[in-house]
């Protein structure tokens, strides 16, 4: 399965496309695209790329555990989703709002 991720322009924060079409920081709320939804994914990707508030847009591979937790497959994406593994720093937050509308 895939999710769509980006960095928000003002803060640089890592964001994901949600089911409701907004972008927010929580991977658990990400809209997931199955292998049979390539066309929908491509259309959303194109729409996202056109949004000037979102940069470094890309699809990422994810899995869903038995308990329903969404996991990014690559360690890189796990670190983007959870913050640095050292130093105890929380992730970057969005500037002045909890989401970016597509």
């Amino acid at each position: 399965m895939n999710a769509i991720t980006a960095n928000e322009l003002i803060s640089g924060a890592v964001v994901y496309l949600y089911e409701n079409g907004d972008f927010g920081v929580d991977l658990q709320k990400a809209k997931l695209f199955g292998a049979d939804e390539q066309a929908t994914q491509d259309a959303m990707l194109e729409k996202t790329l056109a949004n000037p508030r979102l940069v470094s847009v890309e699809p990422i591979a994810v899995e869903v555990s038995e308990t329903g937790t969404v996991w990014a497959n690559r360690l890189r994406e796990q670190i983007r989703a959870n913050g640095p593994t050292v130093g105890g720093f929380a992730r970057q937050t969005l500037e002045g709002a909890d989401h970016v509308s597509l």
Binding site: N7, I10, G12, S56, L75, I79, G83, P84, V86, Q92
Partner: protein
Amino acid sequence: MYRYDEFDAAFVRQRTEQFAHQVKRRLSGELTEEQFRPLRLMNGLYLQLHAYMLRVAVPYGTLNSTQMRKLAHIARTYDRGYGHFTTRQNIQYNWPKLKDVPAILEELASVEMHAIQTSGNCIRNVTTDQFAGAAADEIIDPRPVAEIIRQWSSLHPEFSYLPRKFKIAITGAPQDRAAVKFHDIGLMAATNDAGDVGWRVFVGGGLGRTPMVAKEISDYVPHEYLLPYLEAILRVYNMYGRRDNKYKARIKILVHETGIETIREQVEAEFAEIKEGVLKLPQGELTRITEYFAAPNFEPQTETKIDVAQFEATDSAYARFLKHNLHPHAKDGYVSVTISLKPIGGVPGDATDTQMEAVADLAEQYSFDELRVTHEQNLVLPHVAIKDVRAVYDALVANDLQEGNAGLISDIIACPGLDYCALANARSIPIAQAISEKFADREEEFGELKLKISGCINACGHHHVGHIGILGVEKKGTELYQITVGGDATENASVGTILGRGVVPEEVPNALEKLLDRYMAERTGPEESFLAAYRRLGDAPFKEALYG
């Protein structure tokens, strides 16, 4: 220390205003990311994994207390209360917001600092010996020449779009502490038969995907002709350097593929054309710049030695600090003090805002207002009277900066790796932390040992030149670490040898223990360092220790 003249001040102010305007246009949507990206990179602003990262230039690693306080203020006001000192003697902030960057640059400009040319295919911040202007073994203080190179290379119209980035390092001492042979151009002070000081010039060194030791292109270039000579090298590179393949675009590849003799001929031909032109440095100008770097007003000192042994039984931490963190000074009664940014289990190179302020206070009070950033990610108080060392140490203890480990295994260079860097394949910082914790009680036993860690083949952590180097790679979605031995960044430069297959993260400290136990068993005595033992024995015993 160099002070901006009107030209410098106006140039930095204009650039700050220009970038503020560009940010405004980006935020309003007038500029696309594609249009904005090269503009932000020209101003040191990257987009990393979690946030933007701003890289601020510290020219040749020299700062005063006002500048350090400003760096602390920026960390506290616009970032998360800390900064990360890098292997290019710069500082990086990991969490700034785009909307704040113009204000940060304005703050920097107010103390004669900026982030220009800390990214992109241009000539980057010139690096030098952290003990420049202080070291006992120095032939000449290289900072005036470093400053002249900075002025020449800043916004040089011909060299703003080179095939690739270009790094210059310079040292005024025969002991190379600036890794000059691993730079695109390396300069080492040299004396000619008449006793005049000039420069040995090396070209085509580098780390990254294809590590190479630089080759000597000239054994002596006088001061007055140094800029035309450098310009000639850059012209040859700009003309013939490959632009078709990013991985073959550095000058090291050009030198390697063309051969140093041909490159030398091309450079000499170019040099002959421009030698007597506008770049020939008048002695008056050299003297004017040199005056900015005049030695401080050292007072005669009665205390000229520290008896380390007397503290070994009563205050072993202080004894360790004295043994490892003091460097001989050219002036009797003074030393240079290394402030380690490598606490056991800490993040190499990080300093908090309060630590930066404490260090600024120490510089002001005890080191003639001078500070240095080292390429090994530490700080230096270059001129401390021996009578003041205890007071400096006590202040460092109060700020958790007292680690007496300079040059030991826990004095690790580590790049930000996968915890921050968008290009990384594997993490560096947790590996450094695990190693420094594992060997905290044994590091004195091992003696001098340079350990360097990179999170990908770009080698920002200089792993190729670590006595022990560690390179993080990604294999089938997991992190693996390749171990190299025998690298050396000094005048006896060598590139480390990969010992074999990579090991998983949890196994890295144990793998190092096997290597170090073998070293301890094989060395001729404590005076034979790990590197010397490796050079005598070759890699076979270390391979066997690691893989059986």
